[in-house]
């Protein structure tokens, strides 16, 4: 047992006080962790989501971002054909997004329709049933919520009605499709009612077939390392279009979230300060309580260095234990908060606000541990500088 061991064991003298302090440190650590996850989590989650199917570049009408407006580009087939001839491009496909309706008994349900090229799409993953085939003009894909709402599954029929005034749509004759599969639309918000069909079918439903319109074109480059140069070249080749790599979109997103990130930094720093103050206060109190013991150790020849180390070790032990509890607490609260925040309308359900990343978490843990340990500096100095004889005299009276 060394002086350091004594210091750490001393924390057990007042179990309730130590437990309360640990709880306080854990809460501060949890908040710090959440803020760290939040500060970089959004952009990480956004980048991961955009790359979920491996498509690194998006082409959209000039001045727009994917699905940011209802703007469309004309001559989608011509653009896609030109892109597919490019040896640097592995796959390219056009996507059209449009509002439409589905018939449920004798009422209409508002839906969002995706026109896709099943051979080159970065929008969905089939969860049950089958995917569409390129020439499948009779099949549709449904999001889970639509399948549940309409009470249908793969092999069943559904009626879809295109872009019409709802009043007119009631009277309009819809077109029947066979459900090929139920899919998870990557960019849908929670509960979004989405359906998909091959692009020409959706263009007809949206009355966008004449101009061969699409909302965007997704591109998969053969070489991940050459995405930047490919995007630059495509900007020159398609000056009428907006060419955005995932990195561009993340940078754009980051810019929009700058205040959000600043807020998380401020709250994170505040929680760090709270943790430090808590540890410093507790250690100062315990040092004052144990001053007699400390000066006795000094009297029998224990060095100032050992006394300082033992107080710092107490701080480190408190920070370590509080931080460990805080990690669990932080991950739990992050999950809970994420469930609330991703429920906001318009946000992709697959989006995550709190993304744990080993590097960031490691840095946060190291910063917490270091600052928490350093919080013991003042009480350690106090302990090491106490006059031995004077304190012993005071203890004796």
């Amino acid at each position: 047992m060394t002086g350091i061991g004594w210091g750490v064991r001393s924390l057990g003298r007042h179990p309730l006080r130590t437990a309360l302090s640990l709880a306080g440190i854990a809460v501060a650590a949890a908040m710090l962790l959440d803020m760290v996850m939040l500060s970089g989590g959004l952009e990480k989650s956004f980048g991961d989501l955009l790359l979920a199917r491996g498509y690194q570049i998006r082409l959209t009408p000039r001045g727009t971002l994917p699905f940011d407006t209802e703007a469309t580009l004309d001559g989608a087939s011509r653009v896609v054909a030109a892109l597919r001839r490019d040896p640097a491009i592995e796959a390219a496909g056009a996507v059209l997004g449009t509002a439409l309706y589905g018939r449920s008994a004798d009422s209409l349900v508002g839906l969002f329709g995706y026109g896709v090229d099943p051979t080159a799409q970065g929008l969905y993953q089939v969860t049950s049933g089958a995917d569409l085939t390129p020439g499948d003009t009779a099949g549709v894909l449904l999001a889970g919520p639509v399948a549940r709402l309409l009470g249908v599954g793969p092999g069943d029929s559904v009626t879809l009605i295109g872009r019409l005034d709802p009043q007119v749509a009631m009277a309009a004759v819809g077109r029947r499709f066979v459900v090929r599969g139920v899919v998870h639309w990557l960019y849908d918000h929670r509960g979004q009612l989405s359906v998909g069909a091959v692009l020409p079918v959706m263009q007809r439903l949206a009355r966008a077939d004449a101009a061969d319109r699409a909302s965007l074109v997704v591109i998969k480059a053969r070489d991940d390392g050459a995405v930047g140069s490919l995007a630059a070249r495509l900007r020159r080749e398609f000056p009428e279009l907006e060419v955005s790599s995932v990195a561009d979109l993340v940078a754009h997103f980051k810019l929009r979230l700058v205040y959000f990130r600043q807020l998380s930094y401020i709250l994170g720093s505040m929680s760090l300060i709270v943790a430090v103050l808590l540890i410093a206060t507790l250690l100062t109190i315990t040092v004052h309580e144990r001053l007699g013991e400390i000066v006795t150790l000094r009297a029998i020849g224990v060095s100032r260095g050992t006394v300082i180390r033992q107080v710092l070790a107490e701080g480190a032990a408190l920070t370590g234990a509080g931080g460990a509890i805080g990690i669990g607490l932080g991950l739990l609260t992050a999950r809970y908060l994420d469930a609330i925040l991703t429920g906001f309308p318009g946000l992709p359900a697959a989006f995550s606000f709190f993304v744990p990343r080993a590097g960031t978490l490691g840095t946060a843990a190291a910063v917490l541990f270091l600052t928490g340990s350093l919080a013991g500096l003042y009480p350690a100095w106090l302990a090491a500088r106490s006059p031995i004889a004077e304190t012993l005299r005071a203890e004796a009276t």
Binding site: M1, T2, G3, G5, W6, R9, S10, G12, R13, G292, E293, T296, L297, R298, A299, I300, G301, V302, S303, R304, T306, I388, A389, E390, L392, R393, E395, A396
Partner: protein
């Protein structure tokens, strides 16, 4: 003539109290030879404990010098003085001043750990010392589980841990009843018989009577010496 083990020359200690200067020691000179058992006696406030603290390098004098085997304590840096206290002095306090969160053995091991003694060696020595003071069955007891007399015996074992040149004890029986005080008295007698140099500040006449020399103090000065 044998050189002194510990020698104080014209020791003075003043300190402020309530705006006035207290002259705790007024020019005390004292020589302690190796193997001596010296008792310092006197009424409260006579400067006994202050003298002991100055002899042990716990406090610094306002004037005069203390030498341990020819080394002037005032010439040492704080670090060297701390090291000297650790290795050359053994301290026993009236209120034991043991660490309650540690066991008896761990308390005894602490100065040895500080001195850098390997774990196995210090563990063995701690057991040996606790056996010497009659606590072989209490080595793993927490301090709070021990009686006052047992605590003081642990404190004596701790003081002996690094084989000090001199053992300084400040009222070692002051907190003990007569029976347990007698046990400490016997222990000191045994220590002396085994060759230890002892300087004991005490009010306890029985303890003083055991000493080879009694130094009487009054008002910060030594009155006389009795053998």
């Amino acid at each position: 003539m044998t050189p002194p083990l510990l020698q104080a020359a014209d020791l003075r200690k003043d300190y402020p109290m309530n705006g006035e200067t207290v002259h705790a020691l007024r020019g005390v000179s004292l020589r302690i030879d190796p193997g001596e058992y010296v008792a310092i006696v006197g009424p409260s406030g006579s400067g006994k404990s202050t003298l002991l603290q100055l002899l042990g390098g716990i406090d610094t004098p306002s004037g005069g010098t203390v030498e341990l085997q020819g080394t002037r304590l005032d010439a040492l840096s704080d670090g060297d003085l701390t090291r000297l206290r650790l290795t050359r002095f053994g301290f026993v306090f009236q209120r034991f001043h043991l660490l309650p969160v540690l066991t008896a053995r761990e308390n005894v091991e602490l100065p040895m750990a500080e001195a850098g003694m390997p774990r196995g060696e210090r563990r063995a020595r701690a057991r040996e010392l606790l056996a010497y003071v009659g606590l072989e069955g209490r080595t793993d007891y927490r301090i709070t589980q021990l009686s006052g007399g047992e605590m003081q015996r642990v404190a004596i074992a701790r003081a002996l841990a690094n084989r000090p040149a001199v053992l300084l004890a400040d009222e070692p029986t002051g907190e003990l009843d007569m029976t347990t005080g007698r046990q400490i008295l016997h222990l000191f007698r045994r220590l002396h018989a085994d060759g230890a140099t002892l300087v004991v500040v005490t009010h306890d006449e029985r303890l003083a009577a055991e000493a080879g020399r009694v130094v009487h103090m009054l008002d910060g000065a030594i009155l006389d010496r009795c053998s």
